[in-house]
Amino acid sequence: MAEEDEADHINKLPDDVLVGILSLLPYKNAVQTSSVSRRWEPLLAQLPSLMFSMSEMGTHSEPRVQSMERTLRRRCRRHDVAVQTLNLTFRKDDAMECRYAGEFIALANAQKLLVQVSCDRALTDAGDWSLELPPATTELLLLPHWYAVRQPRIHGASVDTLRSLTLDGLTVLGQEFLHTPMPSLEDLYIGNCTLPVSIEITSDAMPRLMHLDIVDVSVMTRGTTKAGISVLAGGELRTLRMSGRRCSSLEPPSDTEWFLLPASFSASFTSYSCFRLRAPRLRVFEWRCCYADEVHIESVGLLSDVAVEIATGRMPRTWQEESEFVSVEHRDKLMSDILLGLMPGLRPRSWQNRHVQRKLQRSKQGRKSCTWKTRTERRKPALRQL
């Protein structure tokens, strides 16, 4: 075949298809690829998602960050193609990177902003910082890489219009962050954090919160920390999912996982001192492998979906921790506290019996029959009401 024919291949595809192909590549790879020919270079300015990792594998250089800045400025010349996602990684303990990070965030004005913050692992506190949200941002993902990184003080044009917030990573979560008023926030995801003190999520700060996920949030092991979680939501909260994934497996963690658990900051097995819930229009309640000394459910809505999963026995732990056991009594108390909170009229006669399998018909309007099973001889009894 003549070479001219072959050359036809990719060049005959329209720009938007080529942009589609480039956007499937890792951003850095796409930037390199854009230098193959004159036709490809301008396509870079149409990519929807950008990703800059200022510190990569220990590299630290201002010229490198400046080169990223030039790439970003070129990208932002195309005002007609808004940046959908900016994924930015920088070091909190590096003043140069922090300075540029703020500038990048403002320049990109992305609809979805991912901020990954790392620091020297020898640090125990990387200090206060603030994050100014640009006007277009409606979705913020904060992904701290180390416990020394605090949550930022969030401010700026779009705090009032922020819809979705994720805080997922190794960080010590203080109450202050959750008191930031976010009047439009609908989705809140808190994952992997560790609590030094009790936290509360209230309708004062987040009046429109609809979905709340609290996943793998543990209590600090330092001293005899006791921390609980209160969710005092307004009428908008529809779904609440609490889960501790680490304990939901029947298999013990591998040796490597034991090693990786940072024992001084985070407990592998957590029992909250107290869990309090008020959500008058809650419809979905999920509680998987979470433990609390006390559960107070003040009000929930007409539930359509409930899952409760709790185990007994020896719980995973880090090597510094003492063994923790969940006794049958603790589990039963927890289960009945949760069930009674969700269904205040519940009076099962054979609550303590083994091998209980009951069907419950609720006559109240709109509620369907529900079934639950408790098998005390099993390590992981489950209750589901669908």
Binding site: H9, I10, Q32, S37
Partner: protein, 186 residues
């Protein structure tokens, strides 16, 4: 191989009663006819859906002058395979629940489907999918091309895809300087 199925079926099913047909006949630029399920065509291609709804489907073969027979055969083959694959239902429902659906990884059969294509056939199929508004097929084929690019240097990409370097040496050096961060080795 199943590839030939489209043609054979086309000849046979063309004789089926015109009324109440659940297939549509498509005609490639070089005059070959292909039969495809009306439901699958309407579901997978916005352009064909529009034509079916608008009644501009020709029972003797709807002309698709922009698409060669090899590409059209692949399109028809894809539609038939898609209609037969069970997970397609899951695919549709998941794209409803996440309305800003990010790209969903190709399924195993889709991967195989594009893997067996030659360079020529792959690019022809991208064009056909783009022309017919077949978003999923476009995603799957573009994904394949991006896989071929992943981790390659610009020089290697030029070579694989026959892209002519139309920069001068100086210009190229300037670009590399400009985009220096992306050329750093990890």
């Amino acid at each position: 191989m199943e590839v030939d199925k489209g043609k054979g079926e086309a000849e046979e099913t063309r004789k089926v009663a015109e009324a109440d047909r659940d297939t549509v006949t498509l005609k490639s630029s070089d005059g070959k006819l292909f039969e495809v399920s009306k439901e699958a065509a309407a579901r997978l291609s916005t352009v064909l859906a529009g034509m079916i709804a608008g009644g501009s489907i020709d029972d003797n073969g709807t002309d698709l002058k922009q698409i060669g027979s090899e590409a059209l055969e692949n399109v028809v083959d894809y539609c038939n395979k898609h209609a037969n694959s069970i997970p397609s239902a899951a695919l549709i429902s998941s794209s409803i629940s996440f309305n800003t659906a990010p790209f969903k990884e190709p399924e195993e059969w889709e991967r195989k489907f594009v893997d067996r294509l030659s360079h020529d056939a792959l690019f022809d199929l991208v064009e056909a999918a783009n022309f017919l508004g077949m978003e999923r097929l476009l995603d799957v084929t573009c994904h394949k091309i991006s896989e071929m690019m992943k981790g390659k240097s610009p020089d290697q990409i030029r070579e694989v895809f026959n892209i002519k370097n139309d920069y001068t040496k100086e210009e190229l050096e300037e670009i590399r300087q400009e985009l220096a961060w992306a050329f750093y080795d990890d």
